[in-house]
Amino acid sequence: MKIVVAYKWAPNPQDAVVATTGEVDLSRAKPAVSEYDPVAFELARRLADATGGEVVGLTVGGPSIDTPLSRKAALSRGLDRLVVVADAELEDADGTRIATVLAAAVRAIGDVDLVLAGDSSIDVAQGQVPLTLAGVLGWLGLAAVSAVTAADGGLVVERSLPGGTTVVAVPTPAVLAATADAVVPRVAGMKDILGAAKKPVEVLDLAALDVPAPGATLATLATAKPAGGERTATIFDGSSPAGAAAQLVGALRQAGAL
């Protein structure tokens, strides 16, 4: 089984500076593999190990995504090889454009059975790219994937949805977006990090991928932080644990939360 992990080289939110206005400044944040993507790396590695397959990392973006550090950071997380599309034209590209380029790269890699991705990117957080990618490829696309195993001729996929858990049979090829807590990703050790420098990397030329020009581009008109919920800051008398619990339940009922 050939598995592609589509991931983003994104700013590390630990370095974010939050202004008093609520505006988040990531301009000085060091880049890293986007926080939710290591889950996809881990799911892919386990599936490939179980099926004897190959895991190919794939990332697209501006020129800054392709550095020796970014390559090693991804390749140390269980990839067999890496494919990169880095082009100035893709700097700050919107999700639809990124998905279109990813689709072209997946086709260029060839014979791909499965694309795995994280739930969303840590900086944009729209969660749009994996399913747009599925649409562009014309493949089945599923989000909220909490587990995936190989089955005869396809996959068995568990999804964690607001209404409960669903287990579905999924034919390949497919695109799956994993939940942030689907698995605990392994930590890259020194051997993985040293070994990463020896793994193959292929750089694809954007122009050669022949990606259709975007039909439309987005222009951000305004941004605002989410409205904060109203907080009542109620303090209950805790002298009697049972009494405090009863007060809490009563307050939650009154607020319509129960």
């Binding site: 890293a32 550090l69 950071a73 930590v187 890259a188 050790g189 020194m190 040293l194």
Partner: protein, 380 residues
């Protein structure tokens, strides 16, 4: 001069951050400290992530790394607020890897892999410590066995350890430098009694007295060459001093971060106390000391990696970092005021733990003894 980290060091520190975040939050450390328990689950997680075999030769499943990388990891672990959390076990294991028999290597590396502390170092005695010539514990070889008698004290992690790396002397050899040998002694051997010493710091590492009363074992418990024990032990002393200095750096950084954050939030007389120049002066001097410590540690690690003879450098580095770290943590506690001494405040634990590094691994004064002699010798 390049102060940057290599890609590999950056990535390894990011991996360590992941392990620390998952397996070593402040709540975990505080509970260990409160209950006087060792960080076994953290050590196990560190092993699973490959950190507990860094520096070991590849034939023993390790990954060789330079001293700079090891001190970066030791300092980062300490910056989490965990004292003696990483580094020292590796140095001990190196003694066995370098000098032990195949059976001893397999046993020690296996324990390390399980997250256990393989052995405690049985060196200090009631009448001997830095003055190793005064060592009184004896090892008498006879009829294919060796019999030990004596008392060790202030032995760190004795209760957690399966073995004691015992330093004992042959009473028939006059020259103390040729009399001391190294032995790997099971802690449950008949004749060994352990008494825990209650102390006010280093709660996650027990400290014990160990009484050896006619403990008799096969001679195969000898580590390395008979009579070379002290020389073997000295092999890793320079690195041990450097790891301790790195820990001091990390613990000081942790206290500094806490104090600076507190100063920015604690309001008195209508404004955060960090806006008062007396507090700013403290923070500024703390930052200078931390910067000095970092440069001292990195330079010393660089010298080791370049094969430059350390001479007095290790002792100078250990003395400066232990003392400067305590000054930083002490000022951090001052910034916290009364809150700083309440149980459960991290800075109070850091203050206790850093204090121990002014004598653990060699006192401030012994560092003067080592460095001072060397300085005079270099100028004679």
């Amino acid at each position: 001069m390049d102060f940057g980290l290599t890609d590999e060091q950056q990535l390894l520190l990011e991996s360590l951050d992941e392990v620390l975040e998952r397996e070593c939050p402040e709540s975990y450390i505080a509970e260990l400290d409160l209950n006087h328990q060792p960080p076994t689950s953290f050590r196990k997680a560190m092993h699973e992530a490959g950190f507990m075999s860094l520096g070991f030769p590849e034939e023993y499943g390790g990954t060789p790394v330079d001293a700079m990388t090891l001190v970066l990891l030791a300092a980062r672990t300490a910056r989490q607020g965990l004292n003696n959390g990483y580094g020292l076990e590796l140095l001990q294991a190196m003694d066995i890897i370098e000098f032990g028999s195949e059976e001893q290597k397999a046993e020690v590396l296996g324990l390390l892999a399980a997250g256990d502390v393989p052995f405690a170092l049985g060196f200090t005695e009631p009448g001997a410590g830095s003055d190793n010539a005064a060592m009184a514990t004896t090892a008498v070889h006879h009829d294919g066995v060796v019999t030990f008698n004596g008392t060790k004290t202030l032995i760190t992690n004795a209760l957690q350890s399966r073995y004691l790396l015992l330093m004992a002397k042959d009473p028939s050899v006059a020259d103390p430098r040729q009399a001391i040998s190294m032995y790997l002694v099971p802690m449950d051997a008949p004749g060994i009694t352990v008494n825990r010493l209650e102390k006010i710091m280093w709660n996650i590492s027990d400290s014990c007295e160990i009484f050896l009363d006619d403990v008799t074992l096969p001679e195969s418990c000898l580590v390395g060459v008979k009579g070379n024990g002290f020389k073997q032990l000295m092999r890793n002393f320079e690195m041990e001093r450097l790891v301790i200095a790195s820990q001091c750096l990390g613990l000081a950084e942790c206290a500094f971060e806490d104090a600076a954050s507190y100063a920015a939030q604690r309001v008195q007389f209508g404004k955060p106390i960090g806006q008062f120049q007396l507090i700013q002066q403290k923070l500024t001097d703390m930052a200078i000391k931390i910067e000095n410590m970092r440069n001292f540690v990195y330079k010393t690690a660089w010298m080791l990696d370049q094969g430059v003879p350390l001479k007095s450098q290790g002792a100078l580095c250990k003395r400066y970092c232990a003392m400067a770290a305590f000054e930083v943590v002490d000022e951090a506690m001052q910034i916290f005021g009364g809150v700083g001494v309440t149980v459960g405040t991290r800075v109070s634990r850091l203050w206790r733990d850093v204090r121990g590094h002014r004598f653990g691994g060699g006192t401030d004064e012994i560092m003067v003894h080592i460095a001072g002699r060397q300085i005079v010798k270099d100028h004679s």
